[in-house]
Amino acid sequence: MTTDGAAYERRSAAPVIAPVQPRKLAKVPFVELADGRLQGVVSSGSDVERVYVSSITAGDHGLSCNTNNNRPCGGLAGGSRACNHLRALADAAVAQYGVDRVARYLKADLPDGGDDLWAGLHPATAPNRAAEVFAGFLRHLAYLEVAPTTDPLPELQWFPAAPAVR
């Protein structure tokens, strides 16, 4: 993030959010590093109306996985062995953000050059956060229904479109 010219601290257009990598969304439509968790939504393999809401806390590596109707996931069953949904969530996060950024956020200790996120996690059980995370997903989807605008929006001069990942 360094550059010739003005220091990062004194630049109006200093980049803050690294561009995300494109990935397939069918299996894991939503993933985010937020609220101290890696959290997201995983489509059910068997029922198009159902999704699983999964999360891993940063630091403690507490696992949680429930359906959108708040039923516990049978695969995780309140334990500390990751179910397939949590594994899919972690894979999607690594595809979107890169393994380094995900490991740093979760405070996972990976050996130098290690790319297996689970090797650096010490999973535990965590309280159910499904309602909160699912509400976040619905808010996320609601953006697709916001009408476009032709207002001049002068502040977007501070937000250049994401550069190619080079």
Partner: protein, 454 residues
């Protein structure tokens, strides 16, 4: 000469920015914890305004904030002082550039006033909490605190501008939280966004009236903007009226989106604007009839008032018409060095590492962070270019953002415009990637259809 304007910084800009830095540094650790050094910096700011119409209010606000009382009124005065300094820096930089380019600029008239009502209180309250806690005090909960105000502002009439800004700032804070352990804080940037949001959250913020405009619109280039929940294409263009006058204008279309929709597939979110995208991708002019034009030079794009015209070469148009085109004034509260984006045509330059050598020992650096993945321009094309249409920007120094280049690639001349992919990438590899990424939009729409209306 342009090189002369780019060589030096106008008198007073460094001093004004030093005062701005004092306020910005106070916001790092929060207004609840101002040490002696920060207090002295805030007092210098107040002293600089002594004798001006803002003087008493700013002195009072700074005194109260240092004493530990942080109200909305005090914050508005502080943000106003900061905005005035940056506005003055903007004017000095713009006027130096206008002189060098021989560009005439229309004078700004008085503004009208908007009324956004009670929606603004939620935004002010979040911004006050941020100022008190300081950037270093932003944790997950405070970072997430903008969600409610953003949702109501996105839905409200006339408050989209503030909603988009707050959402951009909130996304950065969320990604950086807890900021206490962030290696480097973007001090100026977050203070800029905070200040602008706070001003936009005041009752009676000046609005922009429009007058109908007709004529032929010749696109010079397109600038793309994005944060996790917005994508915007802003064209810089010449507007030729029937009476022969030529004005430099901007016109833009924006759509809400999510972070996983990015790169070339983001254009799909602008499907409501086929004429706009078509004139960019096909490099055509547009005939416009009765389209609203603000005094600041923003044409409020309306597909029903536009028709695609003849193919046109932006480089040829710029060579003939850009020099004499009249520039429009910047709305008073929009003045800020980061808002400078002056279209220029550069030719006959040399190449230096990461920049163009304009001769006479003057090099202008390329703004490589502004070569978006959603368009075909690359640093390699810029390095191989012989002519460049771009925007001159200022961020501590002058920077050139290429919007289009004429270059020689594998011994063949090529012309590449940033808007060439507005209807999808032409190049095979990029087209394939776009098709794969583009299904993201369909997947999310399907999910929204099933889950949102439960």
């Amino acid at each position: 000469m342009l090189a002369d304007a780019l060589r030096s910084t106008p008198d007073g800009v460094a001093e004004a920015l030093a005062l701005v830095d004092g306020v910005d540094d106070a916001l790092v650790h929060g207004l609840a914890r101002i040490d002696e050094e920060r207090a002295a910096a805030c007092e210098s700011l107040a002293a600089a305004f002594a004798g001006t119409p803002l003087g008493d209010r700013i002195a009072d606000a700074v005194g109260k904030i240092i004493a530990g009382t942080v109200t909305d009124e005090h914050l508005a005065a502080l943000a106003g002082a900061r905005a005035a300094l940056l506005g003055a820096a903007h004017d000095a930089l713009q006027s130096a550039l206008d002189t060098a380019l021989g560009r005439s600029r229309v004078a700004a008239p008085a503004a009208t006033v908007t009324d956004s009502g009670q929606l603004l209180a939620g935004s002010r309250s979040w911004l006050r909490e941020l100022a008190i806690a300081g950037w270093r005090g932003v944790g997950h909960e405070l970072a997430a605190g903008a969600a409610q105000p953003v949702q109501s502002l996105l839905a409200g009439p006339g408050t989209r501008r503030l909603a988009v800004l707050l959402d951009g700032l909130a996304a950065e804070l969320r990604s950086a939280a807890p900021v206490a352990t962030l290696p480097r804080v973007p001090v100026r940037r977050w203070a800029d966004l905070w200040m602008r949001a706070l001003l936009l959250s005041q009752e009676g913020y000046p609005g922009t009236g429009v007058t109908p405009a007709d004529g032929r619109l010749i696109i010079l280039g397109v600038d793309l903007h994005e944060h996790p929940t917005v994508f915007r294409a802003q064209a810089h263009a010449l507007l030729e009226s029937a009476d022969g006058t030529v004005r430099l204008v901007r016109t833009s279309v924006a759509a809400a989106k999510v972070d996983t929709i990015s790169g070339p597939s983001a254009w799909r979110m602008l499907s409501a604007f086929p004429i706009f995208r078509g004139i960019l991708a096909e490099r055509r002019t547009a005939e416009i009839t009765g389209m609203g034009l603000t005094i600041g030079g923003d044409l409020i794009w309306d597909e029903s008032k536009a028709a695609a015209g003849e193919p046109a070469d932006p480089f040829a148009a710029a060579r003939v018409r850009l020099g004499a085109a009249a520039a429009m004034p910047v709305a008073p509260l929009d003045r800020h060095p980061a808002a400078l984006a002056e279209p220029v045509l550069l030719e006959g330059y040399g190449h230096s590492d990461g920049g163009f050598d304009l001769g006479g020992g003057v090099t202008v650096a390329l703004d490589l962070d502004r070569l978006p993945a959603a368009g075909p321009l690359t640093p390699a094309l810029a390095a191989a270019s012989t002519a460049c249409l771009g925007l001159l920007r200022w961020d501590g120094r002058w920077l050139l953002q290429p919007l289009a280049v004429q270059a020689v690639v594998k011994k063949k001349p090529v012309t590449v415009h940033g808007g060439d992919w507005a209807l999808g990438p032409a190049e095979a590899k990029a087209a394939k990637a776009e098709a794969a990424a583009g299904t993201a939009v369909d997947v999310l729409r399907e999910r929204a259809g099933r889950l949102l209306r439960k």
